[in-house]
Symmetry: C2
Subunit: 388 residues, 2 copies
């Protein structure tokens, strides 16, 4: 832990198959008007919507509907959400769904009392909120993004072919989040698997950087092992509560700032994946999966020791008689095998990309410098071609 850093995460989590009832404990702390944020009809089909509305009404709240949040929330939808919040003077933004709904709620929260256009302010000029922030809470129905306990908010601008994340300060984190693993049971298997890979990659992004011995890396390895173990059970039986609950809890701790404390981080798979997402509108976790192996094989020689550690600590590759390079390669092979086993997208072709959009995706890829190798634009293009 060689760096200086702070840690502060005050989101209160209620976890378990009985956790929704704690909404009754939290609601009295907030004002009368609740903007209920959700996506399509799934929360209506599986009864979560009705259960939540019943609790809201029992607590005397006025419910303002904000439906139709899409998997990659757009800047147009964000502006609509801000308008709804302003017109109704809402006191609490209650997101009910996965990371998209939580992210969207946070983006709305910092924009309601701010005059500037949110895209320009937060996603072009990357300013911090200087206005009152409307409190956010989440009822999670999909495990993956960790948005329920962090301050990130990814917004997509289709017109500009950009999908950009802004990680705000701790004051933007949800006040509370309700995590009921059973709420994730009805998710289509492909969405579950995409979420699982998203979790795993969040951990990789924070793990594949830095040279020192750091407790954060041990914690990262623990989360990876737990996710791998539970994922293999969950793909066989999506209603295995034990596995789904471990996946849900790991997702939260994979991206709530804990495992990045005192170290540098990478995040290039997300930059590549988000660029693919901006062009194809494919599911976030699948875009990450589709570009991961070409990316990691490109940077591996520059972080050989860490990739060797990844092999022995996460995949338990036997180090006997193997060089660091051989171990590193065996670790990536183990990762590839697991990805195929759980059934993620192995290339961007199946996500709708083709040679003729490679340059567009490369244009939309923000190059970061926290990983073992700072990519050149040529390398970005090569990785994307190898991902086809």
């Amino acid at each position: 832990m060689l760096g200086n850093f702070s840690y502060h995460n005050a989101t209160k989590l209620y976890f378990g198959d009985d956790s929704l009832q704690y909404l009754n404990e939290e609601l009295p702390k907030y004002g009368k008007t609740v903007q209920l944020i959700y996506g399509g009809g799934s929360v209506k089909r599986n009864g979560i919507y009705d259960a939540v509305v019943e609790i809201l009404k029992a607590n005397g709240k006025t419910v303002v509907e904000d439906a139709g949040v899409m998997p990659n929330p757009t800047v147009e939808k964000l502006r609509e959400g801000v308008r709804i919040a302003r017109e109704n003077h809402v006191d609490l933004l209650l997101a009910m769904g996965g990371g998209s709904c939580c992210d969207y709620a946070k983006a709305v929260s910092v924009s309601v009392h701010c005059d500037d256009d949110p895209w320009e302010k937060y996603y072009v000029r990357f300013e911090e909120p200087d206005c009152e922030i409307v409190p956010v809470a989440c009822i999670l129905t999909m495990a993956g993004t960790g948005s329920e306990m962090n301050a990130g908010a990814v917004i997509t601008n289709h017109e500009q072919k950009l999908k950009i994340g802004h990680v705000f300060g701790e004051e933007v984190m949800p006040k509370f989040s309700i995590l009921n693993p059973k709420f994730t049971f009805s998710l289509p298997k492909r969405q579950m698997v995409a979420g699982i890979y998203d979790i795993f990659n969040h951990i990789c992004e924070q793990y594949f950087s830095g040279e020192d011995d750091n407790t954060s890396d041990y914690l990262a390895e623990a989360l990876m092992r737990s996710v791998v173990h539970s994922s293999l059970i969950a793909v066989e039986n999506p209603e295995d509560y034990e596995a789904r609950s471990n996946i849900m809890w790991s997702a939260t701790w994979a991206l709530n700032t804990l495992i990045s404390r005192g170290k540098s981080t990478d995040w290039m798979v997300h930059m590549l994946g988000q660029a693919v997402g901006a062009v194809t509108d494919a599911t976030h976790g699948m875009t990450l999966a589709a570009v991961s192996l070409p990316y990691y094989r490109t940077i591996m020689p520059y972080g050989e020791k860490k990739f060797a550690r990844f092999a022995t600590e996460v995949w338990r590759v036997n180090p006997e008689g193997k060089s660091d390079r051989e171990l590193a390669e065996a670790g990536l092979e183990a990762l590839e095998n697991w990805m195929k086993q759980i059934g993620v997208a192995m290339n961007i072709t199946e996500l709708g990309a083709s040679e003729d959009v490679i340059e567009d995706i490369a244009d939309a890829t923000i190059i970061l410098d926290g990983g073992y190798k700072v990519l050149t634009r040529d390398e970005v293009v090569r990785i994307l071609r190898e991902s086809l």
Copy 2:
């Protein structure tokens, strides 16, 4: 994660060799009068006292001295601290030291505005605070107890030969804690080692319980591996910043409620060790070390699978050709070897106990039921004899 639970830990941590300066950011949030809590003269000798007082004065604070907090804070000292806080109408209790100072500050915090005797209220009747709580903050100079990010407070009553911990609610957790690994450099080696074993055992207490697959156990294994790795470096070179910083960070996460989420816990080594401490006044971590192996060898047959997992996951014992029992035994052997390597107390005789206080210690031992085997009183006595 089969249980229902909540997680909320709002302590803000400032970590690193530059972290003391953040006291300047926090102090303006609190009133004028600060009760400065510390132990003996070590913080004066190593300059930490002067540095802290300078910052307090620069922020216009009135400093009320509360020195002489002993390694096992007594009920008499607690009553004195409460008197000091009342007489001076203090606004912030600032503990500067290790777990004893932080624990003591928390015990004072819930007693200042309460009419009842604190021992009777919190350590006999185990009530919860129903009065205003004075905010607590910690400047840590010793890694071990995790007190800097939890709501526990252990107090010793020598007259009654009792050393009892009360884990309060989240409202008693420190508002902020400052963790500078360099502040731990001047600690005598024996104290450092006792702290390291305390950390390790906190993790064991939460690990050796429950049968399900639980992400918390993976995180526990990660912390154990990080502590073992860094401890071997730190005993060779106590000024290895990397090792000391990993130990300090692991200590915090070993006992801030994270790794006990969704599972049962044991805590019998602490019950035995605290009873030894109440009778001998020996260093907390050493009392835990001295009773650990006889205790774990007693319960191991009842939790064989978990002890086998402990062997392969923490100590990387090769499972090939070994039964669970053989693995479990090999894991405890690895633990014993590591304990000898870092130099903890291996028996209670060297802590001043002898056959003639065994019954006293057994009388002071509270028997809990969260572990793999609920001990009988005879087993307590046998474990203590085997610890001689």
